[in-house]
Every structure is written in structure tokens, then in C-alpha cells.
């Protein structure tokens, strides 16, 4: 049992660093919840406020619908992986992992069983007899993770717990962590700035920037319907292409146009944009590289010429010069095109995004 709620939480570090700004979040019981955002956006601060290591300047924190804002960390029944790991230097790995259980007076053989179990899962069972200083960074990080996972608290707070692992181990650990979380049904709040990790692990993702929560939703929701330019640009790899366009209305026939771009729009969509945009002649069109496909000249709605070709084995990234912009298209097969040749591209109106540059918000 462990829902977490932040209501209007603001944290200001003296004199005036606003680390998080009026954050409202509701994490459901048993959910794998991701805090995603660039460096310095306030992820760690948010986690520390939930843990009780920082007092919010304003706002309240609830765990299981109980107001815990004034409770010290130990009374909140949480476990945390610190971004800096925070291992006890004077305890061996075994004792580091066992420490939270020892404090709760768990029986010795039960401690032993659980420490060994979690150590095995994280592939550190051969390191139990070492001191933290005798471990590599990735090993220390897994010890920190083990110390959190060995217990079954209301909430796990995980601050970039896999950031120091190599690619292969990281993928393995993601799967193990997710499996364990689903098996034990413990609420997890997971901080990362790696959007792939966020998409692959989270039940829901909150995207933060500059101390604010921009969007909260399931991974496919934030991917398919980003509500701001920032979310659109932060999620997806390679990132979304952006082009300045204008909305033209010729007797009820709407289209987004720019040099090399002419995308006819359904009437309803055109009307929505017309209604909401502060200036229909200055819009930002967003198209994901994976939504662009090669087409014939008649069917195309974007055209340009090949600028660079990046073959990546299973796929090819085409860099195409359209007007003054270089956009990327992701093709799933090899291409016969060569640099400088003309290309015709098609994007479905279902997969385009239009933003108002003055508010940076999506228009639909």
C-alpha cells in the first residue's frame, strides 16, 4: 500500500533557487512512476521531498493519503537509492544491504536469506565480503540498489539507480527491477534522464523541466500527444523535427505550408488551429523522424534534397534539407538515394504536431 501525492509543492533553496515550482503529482499504489527530465530540473529534489530529507517551502506531501509533510524520513516507511549511492564506508557490502533489516530487528536467518536473494538478483553475490571502497562504481550502485530493494516499504524512491552500469547490464537490471516491482506490487518512483529507460519501464511518466511538471501520462501518451514543445523535443530518438510553417485557408481548404512543405489538413483540425493559435502565420510543425516515409511526387507533402545519409545497420537516418531546415527521416530499409538527390516524403496528418511558438504549447 503506498500512494504518493504532492500538492502545490514548491522548494526554494536560499537565497532564491527555485528547485521545484508548484508541483502537483499523484502516484497510484503499486505504480511504476517515472520522473523524467534534463539535468537540474528538480528530479532529485522532488524525490528528497517525498523522502522527507528536504522540507517543502510550500505545499503538502501525502503517503497513503496521510499528510507526512512534517514526519521525519524514518517514519515514512520508504526506501531510497541515492544518486550518490551513500553507502556506509565502514560496513561490508553484506552489512550495508542488511542494515535496514537489522534496524527493524528482523531475525538473523531471515536477513541472511533476503540479503543473498537480492544480491543474487543484482549479480553482486560474490562481493558481499568487501568494503564499498573495494568496489567499482557500477558495483557500488548495485549495492545501493540492493539496500533499497531488500526491504518492502510503502514506496521505493530510486534516483537514477542504473546510471553507472554498462549497456548490457543496464538492460538486464531494468527487466529485473520491473519484474520485482510487479511481483511485490510496491510503488516505485524512478528518476531518470534517459527517455528510453522511461519509456520502457514506466507505467506512467512525468516530464519535468525547470522545476515544473509539464506532462504526466502513460509512455505512449507522452510520446504520441506531447503537450509542449519541450516534451515533444525531449522524448523520442532521434528527436522530433521542427519547422516554421503557416496555416493557409483557401475557401475552407486548410493546409500547413512552408518552403518545401504543403500538408493539407482536415477541416476540423484547420479550424482548431485557426481558433487557438495566436498567429496562424507563425506556427511550429513537429514531425517525428519515424513518421516520415518516402513517397511519389504526387503523394508527397514534404520535399527536399538529401543532405547526409547515416546508415545504422537495421535502419537508415536520412538528413534532408527542406527549405532552410535539416530534418531527419528514419527509414527501415536501405536506400538507393545519394547525397544531393531530390526526395519526396509523406507524413500522415495523424502523426503531425503543431505548436504555438509564443506559448510553446501544442494546439491540439
Amino acid at each position: 500500500m503506498g500512494s504518493v501525492e504532492l500538492k502545490n509543492v514548491t522548494k526554494i533553496f536560499p537565497p532564491k533557487t527555485v528547485a521545484i515550482n508548484n508541483v502537483n503529482l499523484k502516484v497510484h499504489d503499486g505504480e511504476f512512476f517515472i520522473l523524467l527530465g534534463p539535468s537540474g530540473c528538480g528530479k532529485t529534489t522532488t524525490l528528497r521531498i517525498i523522502a522527507g530529507l528536504e522540507k517543502p517551502t510550500k505545499g503538502r506531501v501525502y503517503i497513503d493519503n496521510e499528510d507526512v509533510t512534517d514526519l521525519p524520513p524514518r517514519k515514512r516507511d520508504i526506501a531510497m537509492v541515492f544518486q550518490t549511492w551513500a553507502l556506509y564506508p565502514h560496513m561490508k557490502v553484506y552489512d550495508n544491504i542488511a542494515f535496514p533489516l537489522k534496524l527493524r530487528k528482523v531475525a538473523k536467518d531471515e536477513i541472511d536469506r533476503r540479503v543473498k536473494e537480492v544480491a543474487k538478483m543484482l549479480q553482486i553475490e560474490t562481493l558481499l565480503d568487501r568494503y564499498p571502497r573495494q568496489l567499482s562504481g557500477g558495483q557500488q550502485q548495485r549495492v545501493a540498489l540492493a539496500r533499497a530493494l531488500v526491504r518492502k516499504p510503502k514506496v521505493w524512491l530510486l534516483d537514477e539507480p542504473l546510471s553507472n552500469l554498462d549497456a548490457i547490464l543496464r538492460v538486464q537490471m531494468r527487466a529485473e527491477l520491473k519484474r520485482l516491482q510487479k511481483e511485490l506490487k510496491i510503488t516505485a518512483i524512478y528518476v531518470t534522464h534517459d527517455q528510453v529507460e522511461a519509456m520502457s519501464m514506466g507505467d506512467r511518466v512525468a516530464v519535468l523541466n525547470a522545476g515544473r511538471v509539464l506532462q504526466v501520462g502513460a509512455p505512449n501518451e507522452v510520446y504520441n500527444k506531447p503537450n509542449t514543445l519541450f516534451v515533444a523535443s525531449f522524448i523520442g530518438s532521434p528527436p522530433m523535427n521542427f519547422m516554421r510553417v503557416a496555416l493557409k485557408n483557401e475557401g475552407g481548404n486548410y493546409a500547413l505550408v512552408a518552403e518545401g512543405v504543403s500538408i493539407p489538413l482536415p477541416t476540423e483540425l484547420g479550424k482548431i488551429i485557426e481558433e487557438k493559435a495566436s498567429d496562424v502565420n507563425d506556427l511550429i510543425l513537429g514531425v517525428r523522424p519515424e513518421h516520415l516515409e518516402l513517397s511519389t511526387a504526387e503523394d508527397s507533402n514534404i520535399r527536399g534534397e538529401v543532405y547526409v545519409i547515416e546508415p545504422l545497420g537495421s535502419e537508415t537516418i536520412l538528413n534532408i534539407k527542406v527549405g532552410d531546415n535539416i530534418i531527419k527521416a528514419r527509414l527501415l530499409k536501405e536506400t538507393t538515394l545519394s547525397i544531393g538527390s531530390k526526395v519526396f516524403l509523406k507524413v500522415s496528418t495523424n502523426s503531425i504536431h503543431v505548436f504555438d511558438p509564443s506559448t510553446e504549447r501544442a494546439l491540439f
Binding site: R74, A86, Y88, H90, P100
Partner: protein
């Protein structure tokens, strides 16, 4: 570039220098030249440390006296003084007093109080802690003679303690240092020396990164558990260093008890530390040979204690 044994520390200098002066200095240090630099220090140590020790050992094996004929013409009598010493009730008493004084006033009083104060200094939101720290410091820095006078005044039958006691209806007929000489010097020495332990422990606590406390807190440790499992082990080495230093100093304490009690150490010699005993023997009884023997015995005892501490150090800090 020159290869061979003067790689290493001089390497960096070679890279920086134009190759002349520093190279020469380096090879000069590597040769016998270094010894020349040590000569002044060695001469001073010889005159002021080694010679007095040797002289002291020698005197302790004579019948030398401070005044009278044997002040000038003394003879070698071997280990007789040491036998006399261990038959002297006063000496055995002073050993006992010094041990009790060190354990109570330093190891228990100063160290525990110093640690408690250092912990309090780190807590947030405690009012008046700066004031307390200031008072503790003042006790440490005022001249020892002044401190001694202050303590005999405070514990006098017309002093502050008596005034406070009589306020609560307790009548004091005698001065406190007269009725409780040992207790008074123990408390005075705690008062005097706690600042050092406090500083040392404050530095040791500063050395523990904040995130370690936070991790312990998140893991569910109560303040006491945090101290027991995290803070204490991490400062255990500082505690040992503190013990070594305050043991040495406290065994050597002289001025403060002398100012309060005089060389006799108060009624029944209850507060006669071995330092007071030595003074008493040498100055009051003119028996400097016996005093020298006593100081040599104490030197060996203190040395043994320090070695025991150092030996126990290897059981600390295995991480």
C-alpha cells in the same frame, strides 16, 4: 631527461624548471647534503631533550639532594631510590590518584562531555549553543594560574559554590577544596580541558558526509541507532586519538591542582597527583633523586599506555 632513481617526486619539477637550479637542489638533497639541514634541529634536541633524560636517569641513581652537602657531592647508589619509591605510601597513593584523575576527568569527563557538546553543536535549531561553545573555549584559553585561582575562589567557604549551597539551605562550614580535594580538581580539569575534545570531535563529525546520515535516516535509524551504528564507528579513530592525547596531558597536569590544593594535594593527600608528589619530594623534601626516579617510573607507565592505545588502533578502521 635524466633517467633512473630520481624519477618520481622530482619529475614534476624537472618539467617545470629550466633545468638548472632545481635539478642541482634535487641531487643535493639526495646526497649527504640533506643531513646538514638536520644538524641545527639535532643539536637542539640533544641539548634540551636527550641530555635531560639521560641526566634524569643518572640523578635517579644517586643520593643527590636539592640543598646540603649531597647537593654538590652525591654518589651513585644504583637502584636504591626505586626500591624506596615503591615502599613509599605517598608514591603509591599518588599513582592511584593520578590514574583515577585521568580516567575520571579526562577519559570520562572531557571525552564524553566533549563528544556530547560536539554533537549538540551540529544540531540545528538549538538556542544558545554558541554561548556554551564560547564559555567552553574561554575555560581552555585563560592562563592556567588564573584558572587555578578562580577555582580556589569559587570553591572557597565564602565562594560561589557555598553561596549557592546556602541559598538552598545547605550550610558549608569548610571550603569545598578542603573537604573534597579530589572531586574539586576532577571537576576543574573537566572544565578546563573539555574544549580540546570538543574541537577534535567536531572536526571528526564534519568529516562524515551528510548523505551518510541521510541514508541512515531513510533506512529507518532512530537518532540513537544512527549514533551507534554509523556515527560512532566512523569517529572511533578520532576517539582513540583523543584518548591518547588527553591521557598524556592529564598525567602531566600540574599547575591547576597545585594552585587549588598545593603540593600536598589536600587533606589526606587525596588530591596529590604524581606531579604534585614529585614537586613535593623535590622542593619540600629536597629529595631530587627520589623525585627523578618517580618521574622515570611515570614516564614508563605513560609510554606503556600510549603503546597500548597505538596497538589497539589496528583493530579500528579496517574499512
Amino acid at each position: 631527461m635524466a633517467q633512473g632513481k630520481n624519477e618520481g617526486i622530482f619529475q614534476a619539477h624537472e618539467d617545470l624548471s629550466s633545468g638548472g637550479m632545481i635539478d642541482k637542489l634535487a641531487s643535493f638533497f639526495e646526497g649527504r647534503g640533506a643531513f646538514l639541514f638536520l644538524v641545527p634541529a639535532l643539536v637542539l634536541i640533544g641539548i634540551f631533550v636527550i641530555f635531560p633524560v639521560v641526566w634524569d636517569v643518572y640523578i635517579s641513581m644517586t643520593n643527590a639532594s636539592l640543598v646540603g652537602p649531597s647537593a654538590k657531592h652525591y654518589i651513585f647508589i644504583g637502584t636504591q631510590n626505586y626500591f624506596r619509591l615503591f615502599q613509599d605510601f605517598l608514591f603509591l597513593n599518588s599513582l592511584k590518584v593520578s590514574f583515577a584523575f585521568t580516567v575520571l576527568s579526562a577519559l570520562i569527563g572531557q571525552a564524553i562531555l566533549g563528544l556530547a557538546l560536539a554533537l549538540v553543536m551540529r544540531m540545528e535549531g538549538i538556542k544558545g549553543k554558541i554561548l556554551v561553545a564560547t564559555v567552553v573555549f574561554i575555560a581552555w584559553v585563560i592562563p592556567e594560574v588564573v584558572a587555578g585561582y578562580a577555582w580556589s575562589a569559587v570553591t572557597d567557604k565564602q565562594g560561589l559554590v557555598s553561596a549557592i549551597l546556602s541559598f538552598f539551605g545547605v550550610k558549608t562550614e569548610y571550603s569545598l577544596y578542603f573537604t573534597h580535594p579530589f572531586e574539586v580538581i576532577v571537576v576543574a580539569n573537566i572544565w578546563r580541558g573539555t574544549a580540546f575534545s570538543m574541537i577534535l570531535f567536531t572536526a571528526a563529525l564534519e568529516g562524515i558526509p551528510k548523505y551518510i546520515y541521510e541514508a541512515a535516516e531513510v533506512d529507518g535509524a532512530t537518532p540513537w541507532q544512527r549514533f551507534k551504528y554509523v556515527v560512532f564507528p566512523l569517529i572511533s579513530q578520532a576517539i582513540l586519538v583523543d584518548f591518547i592525547l588527553i591521557t598524556i596531558w592529564t598525567f602531566g597536569v600540574f599547575t591547576l591542582p597545585y594552585m587549588i590544593l598545593g603540593p600536598g594535594g589536600g587533606i589526606g593527600n587525596a588530591g596529590q597527583l604524581w606531579t604534585l608528589y614529585i614537586y613535593f619530594k623535590a622542593i619540600n623534601n629536597f629529595d631530587i633523586a627520589l623525585a627523578a626516579a618517580a618521574s622515570n617510573v611515570m614516564f614508563v607507565i605513560v609510554l606503556a599506555l600510549i603503546l597500548a592505545y597505538l596497538w589497539s588502533m589496528k583493530y579500528f578502521r579496517r574499512w
